[in-house]
C-alpha cells in the first residue's frame, strides 16, 4: 500500500511538473513566434499620388522588402499637425480570416497599391503636408509624408 501511495504521489508530481513546463514552453514559443513575425514583416510606403481629378483621393504604393507576405491592416492619414486624421481599415474586399481583417496583401518583393478616398466633404488641400502611416498585422509601421 505504501508503495502504491508513493507511486501515485510521484506520478501526480511528475504530471504537474510536466504540465507546468509545457505551459511555460508554449508561452515562450508564442512570444518567440511573435517576435520573429515582427522581425520578418518588412514594408515601405514608397510613394503617394494625390488625384488631380478627385481631390479627396490619393493612391498609396507599398513595397514589401521582406521575405514573407505582408498584411497591412490599417492606413492612417493625417496632416502633420495631426489636426485632421482619418483611418482606413477596409483595405480589401476579401476578409483575411487568419488575422480577422480586411487587409491589403503585399507579396514578398512586390509593390501593391491602394486608392483611398477621404470621407466627404474632406479633401486634400493644396500646400498641406499629409502623413500616411501604414500598420502591419504584426505591429510594424511605416510613414510617408507628401505635400499636395
Amino acid at each position: 500500500m505504501m508503495i502504491g501511495i508513493t507511486l501515485a504521489v510521484g506520478f501526480a508530481a511528475w504530471a504537474w511538473a510536466r504540465g507546468a513546463a509545457q505551459n511555460s514552453e508554449l508561452n515562450f514559443g508564442n512570444a518567440v513566434g511573435t517576435n520573429i513575425n515582427y522581425l520578418k514583416e518588412n514594408f515601405e510606403v514608397v510613394y503617394v499620388n494625390f488625384s488631380s481629378s478627385a481631390t479627396q483621393s490619393a493612391t498609396v504604393w507599398i513595397y514589401n522588402n521582406g521575405n514573407t507576405t505582408v498584411y497591412i491592416k490599417q492606413i492612417w492619414i493625417s496632416n502633420v499637425t495631426s489636426s485632421f486624421s482619418q483611418t482606413f481599415t477596409n483595405l480589401n474586399s476579401t476578409k483575411t480570416s487568419q488575422f480577422n481583417c480586411y487587409c491589403l496583401q503585399v507579396h514578398s518583393q512586390t509593390v501593391a497599391s491602394i486608392t483611398l478616398s477621404l470621407t466627404s466633404p474632406t479633401v486634400f488641400a493644396s500646400g498641406v503636408v499629409y502623413q500616411f502611416k501604414a500598420l502591419g498585422v504584426y505591429g510594424n509601421t511605416n510613414t510617408f509624408q507628401q505635400t499636395r
Binding site: 510521484g10 508530481a13 511528475w14 511538473a17 510536466r18 513546463a21 511555460s24 514552453e25 515562450f28 514559443g29 518567440v32 517576435n35 520573429i36 522581425l39 520578418k40 518588412n42 514594408f43 515601405e44 514608397v46 510613394y47 499620388n49 494625390f50 488631380s52 493612391t59 504604393w61 513595397y63 522588402n65 502633420v80 507579396h107 514578398s108 518583393q109 512586390t110 509593390v111 493644396s126 500646400g127 503636408v129 502623413q131 511605416n142 510613414t143 510617408f144 509624408q145 507628401q146 505635400t147 499636395r148
Partner: protein, 460 residues
C-alpha cells in the same frame, strides 16, 4: 522526473531562442545591406526630346524593382513596378526593363515607355526603388551640384538651399495700396545697387539641393534683411526686413493680410524665385501689407536671407531654418543702367562701340548725368572720335575718352537714355582674351555722384 521534465523544457526553449536569434541576425544583416546601398539617378533627354534616365550603382549589388516619375505638380506621370524574383540584368547600353539586377559599379539605362516628351519649362522628379526598399531621387532638369561637392557643402553647414547670386533683383510697384498691391515685374534691375528710401520689392532664385531629396516649405517668417555695418556707430543700425510674399504671374501680390500667405514649396532640385517686400510677417495678427524700403543710409549693406519653414522628406517632416549670407547691395540715391555693343571683337580689328546709358527713374529729379568716362587704353582710341551727342563734347587723353555735357540743358535726366559712340583697335592676342573698359558716369548733384559702368569686349 528531473531528466524527463527539465531536459524537455530546456531543449525546447533553447531551440526557440536559436530560431529567434537567427531571425534577429537576418534582420540585422538586411538593415546592414540596405545601408550599403548607394545609387544615384541621372536624367537626360533623348534625341526626340523624350525623358530617359540612368541609375548608377556605387554601392553593393541590388535589384531595381520600380520607379515613379512625377511632374512639377507632383502627379505621377508614369510608374513601373515588378518583383525582384529572378530578374534579368540591367543594361547600360540599351533600355533596361524593370525589374533588373544592377551589379556593384554598374549602370542601368531606363527609357520610360510610353515615352515622356519633355516640354520647355517642365520639371520631372524620378524616384527609383530597390529591392531592399531604398528610394533614390533624381530630377530633370537637374540643378544639383555633384553628390560629393553637395555633401561637402551640406556638411560644412550651409544647408539645403542654394542661392543663385546673379538672380538678386529689385522692382518697383506698378500699383500700391490695398487691395491692389502689384509688383512691376518688367522693372527688374540688378540689386547690386538699390535705391535709397524708395518702396521696392526684392527677389532671389533659390534651389533646393537637399541630399535626402526633401521638399522645403517656406513659411511666412522667411525674410530678406539688409544691414548697414556700423554706419552710424555700432549697435545703432536698423534691421530692415523684407518678408516673403506670394506674387502672381502678373505681379499682383496675393498675400496682403494676416493669414493670406500660402506657403511656397520648393521640391528637391527645383529653383524658385522668392519675392520679398512685406514690411511685416504675414502670420502676425497685426500685419497688413505695406511696402518696405532701405531707408537707413546711403551706403553698402549686407544682405541675408533667413529661411523658416518645414523640411519634408520621404519618411520624415521636420521644422527647417537656414540663414543664407546672401549678397550685398549698395544703396544709392543716383542709379544708372547701361549696355554696350559689340561685346566680341576681331583680333586686331578696328571696332566701333555704342555705349547706351540710362539715368534711371530712381534717381531724384534734379540729378542729371553730366559726364561719362571710358578708359580704353588697350584699344588705343584715336584722338578723333565720332561726333558726340548733341550738347556734349568729347576728348581723348592717354586712351581715356571723356564726354561732358555743355550745359544742364543737355544732362541725361532721370528716365532718359543717351548713346555714346566711340572707336578703337582691338589688340592682337594669341588666345581669346577679355578686355575690360573701366568706365564711370557722373551726376551733377546728389549724394552718390559717380557710378562704375564697366564694359568690355572679348577679343579672339
Amino acid at each position: 522526473m528531473l531528466f524527463s521534465v527539465g531536459f524537455g523544457y530546456f531543449y525546447t526553449t533553447s531551440q526557440d531562442q536559436q530560431i529567434l536569434q537567427n531571425a534577429q541576425r537576418q534582420n540585422s544583416n538586411f538593415l546592414g545591406q540596405k545601408n550599403q546601398e548607394n545609387l544615384y539617378v541621372l536624367a537626360n533627354l533623348g534625341s526626340d526630346a523624350s525623358l530617359t534616365f540612368s541609375v548608377n550603382n556605387t554601392g553593393i549589388a541590388t535589384v531595381l524593382v520600380g520607379y515613379f516619375i512625377t511632374d512639377q505638380t507632383g502627379n505621377v506621370v508614369q510608374y513601373k513596378t515588378g518583383t525582384s524574383t529572378n530578374p534579368s540584368s540591367c543594361s547600360a547600353s540599351s533600355a533596361s526593363t524593370i525589374p533588373c539586377a544592377l551589379n556593384a559599379g554598374s549602370s542601368a539605362t531606363i527609357d520610360p515607355s510610353p515615352s515622356i516628351t519633355y516640354t520647355l519649362g517642365g520639371y520631372y522628379t524620378i524616384r527609383v526603388l530597390t529591392e531592399r526598399g531604398t528610394t533614390i531621387v533624381g530630377t530633370y532638369p537637374t540643378q544639383q551640384l555633384s553628390e560629393n561637392s553637395l555633401n561637402t557643402f551640406v556638411a560644412s553647414g550651409l544647408g539645403s538651399l542654394e542661392m543663385i547670386f546673379s538672380s538678386f533683383s529689385f522692382y518697383n510697384y506698378s500699383s500700391t495700396g490695398s487691395p491692389n498691391w502689384t509688383v512691376n515685374l518688367t522693372s527688374a534691375q540688378n540689386a547690386a545697387i538699390t535705391p535709397f528710401n524708395k518702396p521696392i520689392v526684392l527677389s532671389a532664385q533659390v534651389t533646393n539641393d537637399d541630399p535626402s531629396g526633401g521638399t522645403i516649405i517656406v513659411s511666412s517668417h522667411t525674410n530678406l534683411w539688409t544691414f548697414l555695418s556700423c554706419g552710424s556707430g555700432c549697435g545703432q543700425q536698423a534691421y530692415l526686413s523684407f518678408y516673403v510674399m506670394n506674387v502672381g504671374s502678373g505681379g499682383n501680390i496675393t498675400s496682403t493680410t494676416y493669414g493670406s500667405y500660402v506657403p511656397i514649396q520648393i521640391p528637391y532640385g527645383a529653383t524658385k524665385t522668392i519675392y520679398f517686400g512685406s514690411n511685416c510677417d504675414l502670420s502676425t495678427s497685426s500685419c497688413s501689407y505695406s511696402y518696405q524700403s532701405i531707408n537707413d543710409a546711403v551706403s553698402e549693406h549686407d544682405v541675408f536671407m533667413i529661411f523658416s519653414g518645414t523640411m519634408v522628406s520621404a519618411n520624415n517632416a521636420t521644422l527647417y531654418s537656414q540663414n543664407l549670407p546672401y549678397s550685398a547691395t549698395f544703396t544709392s540715391d543716383n542709379i544708372a543702367s547701361y549696355s554696350e555693343s559689340p561685346t566680341t571683337c576681331g583680333n586686331g580689328s578696328s571696332t566701333s562701340f555704342s555705349l547706351k546709358l540710362t539715368n534711371s527713374k530712381w534717381t531724384p529729379s534734379g540729378d542729371g548725368i553730366n559726364q561719362v568716362v571710358v578708359q580704353a587704353s588697350t584699344f588705343n582710341p584715336p584722338l578723333v572720335q565720332p561726333l558726340p551727342p548733341a550738347g556734349w563734347t568729347v576728348s581723348v587723353s592717354s586712351g581715356t575718352i571723356t564726354w561732358n555735357a555743355i550745359s544742364s540743358t543737355y544732362y541725361i535726366l532721370p528716365g532718359s537714355t543717351l548713346s555714346f559712340s566711340w572707336g578703337g583697335t582691338a589688340p592682337v592676342v594669341n588666345s581669346g582674351t577679355q578686355f575690360t573698359f573701366v568706365s564711370a558716369a557722373t551726376w551733377s548733384a546728389g549724394t552718390i555722384l559717380s557710378q562704375p559702368i564697366v564694359t568690355g569686349c572679348y577679343v579672339g
